[in-house]
Symmetry: C2
């Protein structure tokens, strides 16, 4: 991870499909240099993968909720692992702050979010409190 690697990552963060040839041109280096650095970062795990950024409302997911979970200390890890298994739960973090477990849940509407939280996730043993915060707008 040197300055050049960082610059390559900057380009890929902005446009993950940008061809290596173009990155090379902008960095005034060769395509093979860029390619070999990217491959190395992939192998080292600096680059975990590539993805597409979607507009959730346009995909039909009108309700995206950052949802915190409180648990008993002894259930903490199992709850986090169970949460990962739900398709609707797109991200799972452990975190300091108000809630030890933070998630991001996608739902078509409020009704569906409510069903996911109460009927599906709610069945996980050990959850003491659920705190959903609906994202209104992503500015950045």
């Amino acid at each position: 991870m040197d300055e050049k690697d960082m610059k390559i990552l900057d380009f890929l963060i902005t446009d993950g499909r940008k061809p290596f040839t173009e990155i090379a041109k902008e960095l005034k280096t060769s395509e093979s240099s860029v390619r070999k650095r990217v491959k190395k970062m992939e192998e080292e795990g600096v680059i975990k993968g590539y993805s597409v950024m979607v507009d959730t409302p346009k995909m039909g997911y009108n309700v995206v909720a950052q949802t915190g979970f409180d648990t008993n200390p002894e259930d903490f890890l199992s709850v986090a692992q169970e949460l990962c298994k739900f398709e609707e739960v797109k991200k799972v973090f452990t975190s300091t702050g108000d809630h030890m477990i933070m998630t991001e849940i996608w739902a078509k509407d409020g009704k569906e979010l409510s069903e996911i939280i109460f009927n599906k996730i709610g069945k996980i043993k050990g959850i003491k409190k659920v705190c959903p915060a609906i994202i209104l707008e992503q500015l950045k």
Copy 2:
């Protein structure tokens, strides 16, 4: 946005660099069909862009904090817009829940996070409270 578009998005969410030819093969359709659908989704804004998923600690960012901000109602929008201008602030949302503004801030260590919050962001007019929650581990 039909079933086929959704399947294409599923593939691209998992691997944003997956060639259209491969997606076409798995969906048993033609490459041009896939490409035209993707282009349409890009134009419609369903696809907002592509990105690389990085391992922040391996990049040298050892402290990633989901940070909430409280403001006076009249300063809410200007604070959110100012936050967007900081390079260290990678994401900005408006949200229901405990804090109207939620951000994600990347820092090399706790010292840097503290500097960002107090010396840089702290200067924004209208912020009443800052609530950083450091991400410990991303499970999904």
